[in-house]
């Protein structure tokens, strides 16, 4: 088991090393990266927005419930929603969801190409397949996912407003006052660091799973599932590590 983990780590890093080589032709890689940005970014906008609205809403409702009867000022609701969304909810939940959506997609796409000998066919032509199939996806994700996370943070905060203000849990003034209280732009920086790291994990790990898939459709399904599970675990581990390092 331990040897197995080391084997996968080793092969994963070797693939990454091959993947970040000089492209044969920039325009082909550029085109592919643009296509991926569209798939990952535009394609995930709705689900990311939907999830964020609810996260913001639930945070407000539950925190208001926790504050009930205490002396803590109500505007703290706004303050807590803001920081919780920025530091944790927007990057982590968004990327866990994207690992499921984008990650399984990448593993299935690359794995399918492996099984249908498309990768062999490209290798024969002289294409560096690890680079052509992996790099544009990772680069696209590194650009687009932080933007998605940003959207998630805004929408989440908006969701909190929708859930809190019309229902009378908190007044609009209190919420906005809370929004602006104790603001520290370092938290936003932390959000982007997390987004970038998670984006790298949730594209490169599934790409690895797909690239080395063997066998038939059962194995492909398995690879796709493993891609999501491992990405999720690694995202959570990375989340913890980043949290420790950046709040020292």
């Amino acid at each position: 088991m331990n040897r197995n983990i080391l084997f996968h780590f080793g092969r994963y890093f070797i693939m990454l090393k091959t993947a970040f080589a000089r492209p044969e032709r920039w325009s082909m890689y550029y085109q592919e990266a643009m296509r991926q940005m569209n798939d990952i970014g535009i394609g995930s906008l709705v689900i990311v927005a939907l999830i964020s609205v609810f996260i913001g809403a639930v945070t407000v409702v539950q925190f208001a419930y926790q504050l009930g009867g205490t002396l803590v000022p109500r505007y703290y609701i706004g303050y807590v929603v803001r920081d919780m969304t920025i530091i944790e909810m927007a990057p982590t939940i968004t990327c866990l969801v994207l690992a499921g959506k984008v990650g399984s997609n990448i593993a299935a796409e690359i794995g399918g190409m492996r099984q249908k000998e498309h990768i062999d066919a490209m290798e024969i032509m002289g294409v560096n397949t690890a680079a052509y199939l992996v790099m544009p996806k990772v680069i696209a994700a590194l650009f687009v996912i932080p933007l998605l996370v940003c959207v998630a943070a805004f929408v989440g905060i908006g969701g909190g407003y929708i859930a809190g203000v019309p229902t009378g849990l908190i007044t609009a003034d209190e919420y906005i006052y809370g929004m602006r209280a104790f603001y520290d732009s370092y938290n936003v920086f932390m959000m982007f660091v997390k987004a970038v790291v998670f984006a790298f994990i949730l594209t490169s790990v599934p790409a690895y799973q797909g690239y080395y898939v063997q066998g038939g459709s059962i194995e492909l399904g398995k690879a796709s599932t493993q891609a999501v599970v491992y990405s999720n675990i690694l995202i959570l581990v990375a989340d913890y590590i980043i949290a420790i390092i950046m709040t020292l």
Binding site: E117, M125, G126
Partner: protein
């Protein structure tokens, strides 16, 4: 010319190739024949470097392929075309994009030049130009083989590898595909290596035939020599049915 020297390949306990040494000549249709499971695909994949031999070498001209760096191998691969057993056409691209892919990736041609070259190749494999806009899944098996050949020859390769080019085709189409590969080979002086267990192609186009049996090279020769040989393994392979054996006997007795 391609030269295989003492190629060994095992998968775990399964010793598939036990030392294959052979030459493959330019301008000729080099055929690898043998029973299903004899290791034809494995040998072909060793020759193109999709698999690495346990022991042995592959030479392209004078160059030792597995002794090359990654970059060196890529240089050689630009002069290699391959037709896969399952065609391996990229299914998210149209036929035209498939054939154009190597041009897009490796040449500095203008768009017009690329399209002209694609048209040339499509014509060369006798496809109608209206297939350019369809997707591979909409093409028939025979058409897919042709598209695969067109893509394999688009960069004017010096070496062409075909894994069972006529499997799954009716006998007539199979011969047409064989003829196509044969004439492309002759016209462009390509070194072509074909895997086959189709007797028609053996008897029609075998300039240099290699029989694999039990991991060894059991026989080598050309199509004329096939009929005269006493090699028992070859006879058992070619004249597989009792009927054919009888026919051969009476043929030899005059």
């Amino acid at each position: 010319m391609i030269r295989a020297v003492d190629l060994h390949k095992s998968f775990g306990e399964n010793e598939v190739l036990k030392g294959i040494t052979s030459d493959f000549y330019p301008g000729k249709t080099n055929l690898i024949i043998g029973r299903s499971g004899a290791g034809k695909t494995v040998l072909l994949k060793l020759l193109v470097g999709l698999l690495t031999p346990d022991v042995g070498k592959v030479f392209y001209g004078d160059v030792d392929f597995f002794g090359l760096s990654k970059e060196g191998r890529r240089q050689i691969r630009m002069s290699v075309g391959m037709l896969f057993q399952g065609s391996a056409l990229f299914d998210s691209m149209t036929v035209e994009e498939n054939i154009r892919f190597p041009l897009d990736m490796f040449t500095n041609m203008t768009r017009k030049e690329k399209l002209d070259r694609v048209d040339e190749c499509i014509e060369r494999v006798d496809l109608k130009s209206k297939v350019k806009q369809i997707y591979p899944s909409e093409a028939s098996g025979g058409m897919q083989k042709r598209i695969g050949i067109a893509r394999a020859i688009v960069l004017n390769p010096k070496y062409l590898f075909c894994d069972e080019p006529n499997s799954g085709l009716d006998p007539k189409t199979a011969i047409v595909i064989d003829e196509l590969i044969h004439s492309i080979t002759r016209d462009n002086q390509i070194t072509t290596v074909i895997n086959s267990h189709d007797m028609n192609s053996v008897m029609e186009f075998g300039d240099n035939i290699i029989l694999l049996y039990d991991g060894n090279l059991a026989w080598q020769g050309n199509k004329e020599e096939v009929l005269d040989t006493d090699n028992e393994i070859l006879q058992n392979f070619i004249f597989a049915s009792p009927f054919l054996q009888k026919l051969r006997k009476s043929f030899l007795q005059g």
